[in-house]
Structures are given as structure tokens and as C-alpha cells.
């Protein structure tokens, strides 16, 4: 099993969700986050003084999938979240040792 952590533009959430709905993916966790990458921050103004807000608002999605779903899931997220400009975000994937469904006690892929 793998965990995909996807950093995306906030307004792309619906499209990503719609794309994942069409696949065999049954859940995600969404967090509002702030950070920076190549897009850097943005400039704001306050009472005549310009300042740099170093961190952009983004969303972080955490999605658990079976090993054989990783490629298509990443492709689906990429296609849905892409605008082609700096700031589109990134996807990280990592191994997941085990999963437990709290309600039933199911373990592993059974619990996805």
C-alpha cells in the first residue's frame, strides 16, 4: 500500500475529487496548508508598506491506494490539478506499513 500526499491549488479540489471518484479510490483526507515552492510567496500591501507573504495557501490531500493503483492515481491527480504554471503543487508517495479500520478491525488492503 502507498500513501499519496498531493499538494494542490485550493480551487482544484473539486476536479481532483471528481477524477478520483471515477476510480477505485474510496477516501481522502484534506488539510488546508501553507507553504512555498518554485511559485514562492506573493506580495501583499498593508498601509502603504509592501510585504512578502512567504507562504501560499494550498491543500494537502492524503490518499491511500493499493500498490497497483499508484500510477493511475498519480496520473489522475496530475491531470486534474494541472494548470501548467508555477504553483500547481507536487505529489509525494510513501510506503504504508499497515492500515486498521477502527470500526471493524480490518487490516491491510482490506481496510482501504
Amino acid at each position: 500500500m502507498k500513501k499519496l500526499e498531493c499538494i494542490i491549488r485550493p480551487h482544484k479540489l473539486e476536479e481532483v475529487r471528481d477524477a478520483l471518484d471515477k476510480m477505485d479510490v474510496h477516501g481522502m483526507t484534506v488539510t488546508e496548508v501553507r507553504g512555498f515552492g518554485r511559485q514562492k510567496g506573493h506580495t501583499e500591501h498593508y498601509r502603504g508598506v509592501e510585504y512578502k507573504a512567504e507562504f501560499q495557501p494550498k491543500l494537502k490531500l492524503e490518499i491511500l491506494v493499493r500498490d497497483n493503483q499508484v500510477a493511475e492515481t498519480m496520473k489522475a491527480v496530475q491531470d486534474a490539478a494541472k494548470t501548467g504554471k508555477f504553483g500547481d503543487g507536487k505529489i509525494f508517495f510513501t510506503d504504508v506499513q499497515d492500515v486498521l479500520r477502527i470500526r471493524t478491525g480490518d487490516r491491510g488492503e482490506q481496510a482501504l
Binding site: 473539486e14 506580495t43 501583499e44 507573504a53 512567504e54 507562504f55
Partner: protein
Amino acid sequence: MTTKMSGARRWFPLAILLTLMFNGTAFAQAPSEGPSPADLKVMLDTLWVMMTAFLVFWMNAGFGCVESGLCRAKNATNILAKNFIVFAFSAIAYWIIGFGIMFAEGNSFLGMGGLLLSGADNSPATGDAYQGIFTSLNWTGVPLLAKFFFQLVFAGTAATIVSGCVAERIHYKSFIIFTLVLAGLSYPITGHWIWGGGWLAAMGMRDFAGSTVVHAVGGWSGLAGILILGPRIGKYRKDGSVQPIPGHSMALVFLGGLILWLGWFGFNPGSTMAADPRAITHVAMTTNLACCMAILSSTLMAWIMLGKPDFSMTVNGALAGLVAITAPCAFVSVTSSAIIGLIAGVIVVFAVLFFDKRKIDDPVGALSVHLANGIWGTLAVGLFATADAPGGGANGLFNGGGFASLQAQAIGTLAVGAFTFALALTAWTIIKLVLGLRVDPEDEERGLDLSEMGMEAYPHDPVRG
């Protein structure tokens, strides 16, 4: 006995004060009897007009809260700023040319004169004693500046309606320019037709506090803006179905709704422009009852049709009832006001669903409130009017007056609608060509707070050096 004593003691200081006051005047001039009844009437009428005008002014706060609450957090500063600045620009435009176009003598289509409030005027003289160029306002016995201020806050209200329609996608500067056109030109012209002694007034059209003059005019202008701007990004899915874009603060919507409700007790009862006990209490009663009935019906409609008692529909319903009763408030019975409000609450829910379906993206429901119910309220005069109400005048259809009044109301609605819509469409188009109207898609997605204002409404205190 004891109580009588303490009563006398309580009045003692006042008696001294009165003695001193009369002695003071006695020194200054020959013994006087104090203000005459006529002077007192001017004083009380002026107090009433100014106090209610201040309430109407405060409606800007209500609109700002409702509109920003029904939009997303990323656009909140922009919407609040629009609602704040719109009154300043309307006031300037209305002072320079608007008031003159609306109320100065001229022809039946346009007032000519009154630039910068210039021209003869001997207010507070009324009726035949009035000598000046603002004859259409000679029925109210208050100073000219009281008349101006009261009318100004109404012009500001019409202008602020538009900001909700075009929210979350329009350039700040383009909106401001349109405000000048609306408050300085469009609103005063159609206002002249109805309130300035123009052709619709002569025809018998009646609009007590502005269902058409203020609200439908704001609505038509906003509709033209929406059609040229198009829907917000993300409002419609690829298959054409509606993607709801929830507002960010129902707490703001709540507060704004109550501020507007309170403001309406200035808007309608103040339009008597005189401290007339019977009229202002009647109007306050009809205004409040229509609002309450509309709250009831809009909430029920939402509950039945949408499955939940949607609170945003409850607030829209309250405003719908208030807009609908604005024209008839002094011309109809209390019972009729309840029916008018009841229907307004139904109309607003259907209108919201209708506009959404037709891809007319109105983020705050301003069209459903101000346009749909501005029309309904204007027509309601022709249906429910009764000569027994404080406003007097012809009976409506349901009170044996036949179709005459209804016909005048309908012609007025159509004429003002067609003129305002055409003028607004032209103005929006010119502004679009010269300045641009809609922000870039990228900026719209980032939010207008960052792209237009450079300032977030709710900044996360960023970690920075």
C-alpha cells in the same frame, strides 16, 4: 399625600430650569410664547426625516455584511471595500448632478437644474407657499438639505445592490465607475419619472418608498452586469449542473440581515418625510409584518423544496418581504401587507433556483430579492391599494378599483425596467471596452483580496523575519 409630595419634589428642579430658561429669553428679546405650532412641526418632521435617513445610511453596513458573508473568504475585503466606498461615490455623484436630474423642474423625463444643489428654494415652505425649483418635493416641510440627505441615502442603496450581483469577479475600478453612472444618471432619471413629477407620476403610478425606484433599478443594473460578466469560475460543472459556492460566514449574513431589517424602519416609515403619527406607525406595521410573513414562507418553501430550512433563504426571504412592501407600505391594509410578504417569500426561493438554472450567477441572491420582489411590490400596489390607508389614492383591483392602478404600475415597471436595463448594458459595455470588467481567471481563483486589494480579510499571521 406622601406620593404627592415626592412628585412635587421631583418636578421642582425642572420648574427652576424652566424659569431660568424663560428669564434667559426674556433678557434676549421681548417675551415670547416659544416656537409656533408650525415651527414645531418643521422641527419634528426634520428630526424624523434625518433620523430615518441615518437608519437608511446604516443599511450600507447591512449590505456589506450580507454580501461578504455570502461570498468566499478570499473575496471578503474586496466586497466590504465596495460596499464602503460605494456610498461615498454615490453621494458625490448625487450631489453634483443626481439630485437635480431627479427633483428639479424640467420636463416629464428629466429634471434640469439643481446642479450642486444650486437654484432657488425656500424650504421648508410647502405647497403653494413653496417657491423654488424642487417643486416635486414641496409636499414635505423640511429644509432642502434634509430632503437631499434623505434622497441621497436612497440613491446609495440602489448603487450598493449592484455590488452583490457582480461580486467575486469584477475589477474594483470598473465597479466604482458604474456606481457613478447609476447614482448620477440612471437612478435619477427613472426616479424623476416617478418621484420627481415625471410622466409615470402623472399617469398615476405609485411607489411609496421605492420598490421600483430603488430596488428594481438596482436589480436591473445588476442583471446587466451579470450578463456581461458571466458566471464565476466553478459555478457550473462541465455537465451544466450547478456547483454551489457556499458563503464563508453565516454569522455575517445574520448580522447584516438584522441591520437591514432595522434600516428598513427608516426606509419605509421615513418616506412619509413627516412625523405623521398615523402614517409612520401604519407603515412600520406593514413593513414589519411583510418581512415576518416572507421569513415564514421562504423558510417553509426552502424546507419543502430543498429539504432543509436553508438559513440563507430565510435571510433572503426577509429582504424579499421588505423589498416587496416598500412600494405598497402606505397604500395597503395591514392584512394585505401580510399577503404581500407571504408571496414575496415564495417568489424569492423560486427566483434563486430560476436564476441559477439559467446560468445567471448572482452570488448573493440580489436579483431574487431586489429585482423580482421590486417588481412584485410595485404590482402589488395595483392589486391591494385601498383609499383607506394613510397613503390614500385610488383603490387597487382587489378593492374595487378596477385595472386602472394595476395598469399604471405595470407600465411603470416595464418602462423603468427597459430604460434602466438598456442604459446599464450600454454603460457596462463601454466600461468593459475602456477599462476591462472581469479579472483574469488566475486572479479570480486566487481571490480578489489578493489580486485587486493586495490585502486579505483574514490573514494568517505569517511566520516571517
